[in-house]
Symmetry: D2
Subunit: 381 residues, 4 copies
């Protein structure tokens, strides 16, 4: 049983923080610097302060997690990990018995430096999950969509990620769990995915949008969720073209869906459905799901959207190293890496237009660093 209103691990004693019945109110002054050029042509740096007030609800809502690509490698692995942790399932491996944990999760396995102890002088590090009231992933209600109708039990075998003994023990908890039909558009997803696509929503883009919205409301109601999070963890799509009059504003985008315009990608339809249902949407692939019309729509409805690639592997390591090197005045001349691809990821990258999405997304990481140091990287060189 999980306590939805957890006792706080610590209190903040400051005039900037007040605790009420339902929320923590905190004031924060963010300091930054603006730069102008004076009459003589030299730069003038001027500090500026912005004041924020954060309100954090203390009651954690019952939360559902809906994944697009539920039956893929990510979807099955996340599902298995949550159930193994929730049910405390241990499993046999070649190297001994493995117990479940959330190692590798930023929220569940990292700590934050709270401060130095006034008396002992020792540092206090607090789990990130205990800084503020936060959903315990063990309480997630899991569901989602996939273009393949394979039941989750079999999909876990197909993914070749999990140990046989773990899958065996998960089976009773996965009974009857089958992904909802998803949107399949061969123009956006690599053609080699065609074999999997046996579970698709028919009709026009407008009809698909209506179906997704209906899926969301049904899932929320059936599971008595107070809050949903929708995550795109399906295959990388090609970039969508930005076309004035079609996807450049919220209204144009809605009209384009209505008109079944071919340049609206499946991930964009999912994002629009989420926003219209007031549900946060996270994009885990590198394509440009968030065309300008999506961003405007999210602002209009006050819905949180975010993400452009999980960047969990070599992309992240690369950016950490380049950040360190360039920041230390060292000039990397080239970056070489080897992508050990998951099965579907590899198939996907063999399709040139999807690979382009990945390239564009990944080069940004490095471009920012290069742009920040004109000593090492002269402009135009």
């Amino acid at each position: 049983m999980v306590d939805n209103k957890p006792t706080p691990l610590f209190k903040v004693n400051s005039p900037n923080v007040t605790y009420t019945e339902d929320a923590i109110h905190s004031k924060y002054s963010y300091q930054t610097t603006f730069v102008t050029t004076d009459a003589s042509g030299s730069l003038v740096a001027e500090p500026v302060t912005s004041d924020f007030e954060f309100v954090t609800q203390t009651k954690v809502p019952r939360t559902g997690l809906m994944m697009v690509g539920l039956g893929g490698n990510n979807g099955t692995t996340v599902t298995a990990g949550i159930i193994a942790n929730r049910e405390n399932i241990s499993w046999k491996t070649r190297l001994g018995v493995q117990t479940p944990n959330y190692f590798g999760s930023l929220t569940q396995a990292s700590t934050v430096h709270l401060g130095r102890d006034l008396h002992s002088g020792k540092d206090h590090h607090v789990p990130l999950a205990k800084m503020v009231p936060m959903v315990d992933p063990n309480t997630f209600v899991i569901g989602g969509w996939d273009i393949s109708a394979m039941p989750m039990i079999e999909a876990m075998d197909r993914a070749q990620v999990l140990e046989p003994d773990l899958i065996n023990q998960l089976k009773p908890h996965l009974q009857g769990m089958v992904p909802l039909p998803s949107i399949y558009d061969p123009d956006f997803i690599a053609s080699n995915q065609a074999d999997r696509a046996d579970n698709v929503i028919p009709g026009t883009r407008a009809e698909q949008l209506a179906q997704i919205r209906s899926d969301i409301t049904t899932f929320r109601a059936n599971n008595a969720c107070e809050q949903l999070i929708i995550v795109w963890t399906a295959n990388t799509e090609r970039f969508a073209e930005i076309i004035p009059g079609h996807n450049d504003t919220a209204d144009n985008l809605l009209r384009a869906i209505e008109a079944n315009h071919p340049e609206v990608s499946p991930s964009t339809i999912f994002a629009v459905a989420s926003i219209l249902e007031g549900t946060p949407f996270i994009n885990g692939s590198p394509q440009n799901t968030f065309v300008p019309g999506v961003v405007e729509l999210a602002e209009r409805y006050g819905v949180l959207i975010g993400g452009d690639d999980f960047k969990s592997g070599q992309t992240k390591i690369k950016s950490v190293l380049v950040d360190f090197l360039v920041g230390a005045g060292i000039k990397p001349l080239s970056i070489t890496s080897y992508n050990h691809l998951g099965n579907n990821d590899g198939m996907n990258l063999s399709a040139p237009s999807q690979f382009r999405s990945k390239e564009i997304s990944k080069s940004n990481v490095v471009d920012d660093m290069v742009g920040s140091n004109p000593i090492l990287y002269k402009e135009g060189a």
Copy 2:
């Protein structure tokens, strides 16, 4: 010709910063958090502010750089790099002509984010060397000590670091440059260094200290330096034992030198000489040069001391990666690395007691990270 009072690249327009004839005065509020435990046993975090005032001289002093280990790989490479930059010497390599630069220098080749342009919204990145008035390394007057009397011209060949064509062009600038005699104590430096030791200061520790102090004042006077920096870039010593009554306080340490106590290392004698001459001392090797008595002495004289290993190579990369991984909730189980050793460094590490110095120093980097995350690394495990 280098202008010793450089025109500032930018001005700060803030009540916290004032510019006078000779200095920049800036006020800074440093915010941190203290943690206490209340009656009920929960932690209480309380923000605390400390106010600092920094005074930065605008006139850059004529500065001398004295290296201990001047004829070694570090000493000859730093000397060559500074002269090549100062004299703008290009040299031929297998891959083409190479021009000199300061890439790899934190102060000369890294930038700082100054702020965002009020009008264009673009970020301004400013060379670190232009943030405040700072010595240009091209103006350094270079000298130092070495236990080998080999002239710098020949020492550059011995180091096997620099291209033949560069050494050839440097020769006129190195004419007559020979390291001063240094302190050789076979008990602290690996025995395989004995062959090199043909340039040593004789006598007791007190006599050695007097000689170093005299070397410093002579160098300063002969070169009209307003400021000196002394850097230990010689071989790694073994750790010195901390002995109550001998090196635990400033006065005990000075008495121990007077009494020629065998547990006072050469690097500690250099540090004491620097402090007594009012000169900053940087330690680039991992041994414990800064025994408690040295630290107290530096505080007494208000002299800056710092450094425990340059940590320029794999140690730094390792700490950057561990910091990222543990900070992201990922648990590294082991760290393996391969040390491609310079010639003398390798010889040195083959001596067990010096190797121990390197081990102790390097493991600290990782220990801090492990200590910060009790989720991943349970106490005692």
Copy 3:
């Protein structure tokens, strides 16, 4: 059921090969060259031919395989592999179902070029195992000794080599299988093995020899074996000292065992027992089990002995590459490799005297190549 007299895959039609009821008789002329120096000091090369006759029994004997170190990583893995192949056991892994095979076995998975087809011109490659009548490993009766009394079922878990599902299916076939007590001499085996040593033969070396001989005859009788092979696959011992009068001749060695001389290693006792029982003995570790007295004893009894380290991993790869490089006139300057150690192997190498055994053994591989090319490697350099 295995046919002990297999139909031959091919016949040799040559005056040098005759087939009788029970055997294949073949004559072979081995050509080599002797070198002498003539009066003028130049070398004279003279071809020499030696004639051999090989008699190969066509009936394959029922064969037992007794391993010293049966419960270790090698012993349990070999046992599991043979049973899985014999019983045709498939098992689940993360990547799918795995079926058993003998890939990696020189005799079972390599082929020999028999010749070119007279008509088609195509090459015929024949499995090595079909060249002459040869024991099928599936028919091996398996047994042996170990200083740990852990039953084979548990020992397979301890080894952390095999998949849980395979171990599970092997259990019925391993029921009651426990290694015989072995010889434990802490002076020869790394001290960190002491924890495992709960299954040791007590008494003097002479008593231990008698026990091993008795174990061999009992095993042969109980399992109706016509032939046995004994393999040392236990831990690496330190080198034994060669002491004139003690282990330099067969008789001295037998007297030394009688006198319980401390410089007779456990592996040498096993080798002596094998020879006296007329059983071939293979040494899979790098120590000098085969002291001169053992070699003389084997010759006296006409028993085959062989082996100094399995050299299955990096040692073999290294020698293949050095052989190619030096043979092509390329001069390797150094060889660096990383030993990914099995659990017990690692513990063992942490003991300096055992590590020395491994070093001596492995450097020989390279020394031979270096000695063969005085152009690349001048003598004495």
Copy 4:
């Protein structure tokens, strides 16, 4: 001065070897096996002996080496190596002074096991170059063709292979050395070579062939060479199409050249010119220079041709390892390698049709091994 009739290092004392004034006559029986299938369907292996007689001239001819691609990385490096060895030029590098040698040359730096010493029992290894009279590379007269007219002195800088100090000392020996014009056919060589092509033979294929033949006779006469060797060390071409009636027979090929047929590659024209001039031709690139018509022509004129890629780097290492692994019954599942490309080689491989040449050539190495072991690699799998 090089003695063209070297005193032999050893004599062979055998009825199969006789020494005359001008030659060494040796008889050799080569034993192989033919395979047939008997009435019952089993294989029958039958040994067969072929008798050869080799005649080796004892006088070594004055030999010229003409390279196609003389100014490229291979051409300049070979030329520099031969001159440095011939003139005994040492040069400075970062790591010290380097003296010239022929390490890496199969003929000059490898040894052959001659035999065992009858008295000492020690092995005699003899330099391959001393086994029979063989040209000393120091005596080569060097020349050749290149589509770039850059003089050799500058081409060595362009190649970025050799140390500046070596190039400097080679200059007097390279004075006036400029490649002859070569054949440039953009359809066969990657288009990115166009920039270099400023030194090309104009006209039809027939005119080009006549020019190359004239170059060969002129070079031979001017340098009083008794023997020439021509080596293609230029860029990789695309594969030529095999067209019946055009390049499938010697006569068709000669007619195709006469008719200026576009499917005759530059390397084929060079091969034809060599054959018609009675000069051996070695092909160092992977394309199919030796179309059937070339092979027939070489047989007709009794001229030696050979080679399909130097296979000096990773291709060779790969084949050595695969040969060992498959031969030991180990099944490699995939081979991954990283090609660190020379400058022009990299440019070349970026052109798809040339890359195909390289791929076809390299996969053969592995295919042979796979075909030899149907246990590991089942047919059709």
